[in-house]
């Protein structure tokens, strides 16, 4: 997909964006394709937005599912968030990373759903993960599955605010400052709450007997 992103996509109206001026404003950094896509979107190029959807669709879908625990609602929420993002791109600073901004738009949508208390917050209703065929032995597979299920349950016992922090940190792999931006809270608050959440998870893992075992 990255290769596709680096090349110029087909546009609905290429004359709007295919100008030297536009190209010169997007810079040459690693996120050049994203900046270009944002500028193209602002000009009304829906195909440019397709690149954004395809690049971040998995991330947004996984995050929404973790936060809502309901696949159908997560899919609907991701769609809503992407429509919001399309409409809000003209206010987005193209010099900044797109990833946290998209997650913030998504979290706003998730919060709307959760404020209405219609859905819970426990990730992954199912526990059966697809185990790679290369796993060496059934007992290793079973143990890994057990550990993952224990992690899922431990995450489900976190307060929603704390769980959101953990998802953004470990699943979306955002930095502390990016999480603060996404949730609109101070970095210090992010750190203290994350510290507390990790402590709770550590205790939970220890009681489950899955912490400190030898890795195989």
């Amino acid at each position: 997909m990255d290769q596709a992103m680096a090349s110029r996509p087909q546009t609905d109206d290429s004359s709007v964006v295919d100008s030297p001026a536009d190209r010169s404003t997007v810079g040459t950094g690693p996120l050049e394709d994203e900046r270009w896509a944002v500028l193209a979107c602002r000009a009304g190029d829906r195909n440019a937005f397709r690149l954004i959807v395809e690049r971040y669709g998995d991330l947004l879908s996984g995050t929404a599912y973790l936060m809502l625990g309901d696949r159908a609602r997560a899919e609907e929420t991701v769609q809503d968030a992407l429509v919001d993002a399309w409409r809000g791109l003209d206010q987005f600073d193209a010099e900044r990373p797109l990833r946290p901004w998209l997650l913030r738009v998504l979290v706003n949508r998730v919060m709307q759903v959760r404020r209405r208390k219609l859905f819970g917050l426990i990730p992954l209703r199912e526990t059966r993960f697809e185990i790679p065929a290369t796993d060496p032995a059934p007992e290793v597979v079973a143990e890994r599955e057990w550990a993952r299920d224990a992690v899922r349950q431990a995450l489900g016992r976190l307060e929603p605010d704390a769980a959101r922090l953990v998802f953004l940190r470990y699943f979306a792999e955002l930095s502390i400052s990016e999480i603060a931006e996404v949730l609109a809270i101070p970095e210090g608050t992010v750190k203290s709450r994350l510290h507390r959440a990790r402590g709770q998870l550590r205790g939970d893992f220890a009681r489950r007997g899955i912490l400190g075992e030898e890795l195989r």
Partner: protein, 373 residues
Amino acid sequence: MSEQKRRSEDDLLDGYFEAVRQRERAQPDLWERVRERIDPQPSAVGRGLPRRPVLARATAIAALALVVVAALSLSPLLQGDEASVAQAREILDRTHVALLATPDSGVTSAIAQIRIERASYASVEQLSAEPGAQEIETRRIWWGGPTLWRSETDIEYRRDGAPAEAEPGWLLGGVTVSDGDRVWTFSDVSPGVDPVTGETVGPVVHAQPRAGDRQMPIEMPLAVVFGDVSSPLSGGAGLEALLRNVEECFVAELDGTATVAGREAHVILLRPREVGKVETGPIAADSCHAALAHEPSERGGRVAEQTLALWIDSEHYFVLKAEKIVYLSGDAYPGVSLARSEVVGVQFDVEIDPERFTFTPPEGVEVIEVSGS
């Protein structure tokens, strides 16, 4: 990977989320679905966000209300425990209806003060909170509608009953005001130098506009205010999921009435149906099982011994108080944890000074605009 390496919580989280990444992909036709909904010209000024379909929700509410009315009209005269169980079921159904009917509670304004206490008296340091650690939150709320409200919070930390000093970066409290146009959030962060990063931290204000073509409206219906009171009881699942699935996990009984914050409340006791049950399966996302604490037992979880209770306003069917006490006994990790939220004062349909719904950032405190990118 060395065989000597021991598994840390980071290893566990990384392994879990990697598995999630492998299986949770975007729906195959995501782009087609989004494309159908976006216009060729983005961000038209003044265009509102599309409203979500409300028909399905309204139908569900109507159906639920019908069931409740039917249950009330056909309710037989039951005696003893059977009667209290049936009455509890009716009250919980009404509470469910009140929650789903948000924001049409019929209340025009409210002032409330809520006390939230979390404490751990566990005897091992591996538990989530240190033994003797206690957190007391006092929240004062002025509510003039879903987009006009103020919440002031003070948090007190205690250790073994004595006040404990908050470390730099800990949240001491704050003020959140929705003035109709913006939501202001003042976070009173304990000032100092963060021991981990070396950064200087302190109080800060965030301002987020409500209006605009890209901002989502931030609403707080009154039922949500009181729904939050039940958060210690309902765990991660939320009050709605608990009420929807309460029959599955709990035996609910009416334990008479009590007065909470001067209001008459039904007292509902919730007993887990399967205390001591060892289970290895998952806890469904929208199940009331999420409200139950689990202890480890070899390779399984165990529903812990616990007491849970709800105090429900007999007029509006808001949750006025919730309590959950978990006993970890007969185990390698004995201890007690307590979570309790209680409305300590409330008035409905009162006149509120409009000044309450305004906010001026404290002098010298950094204001961060979060409306842009």
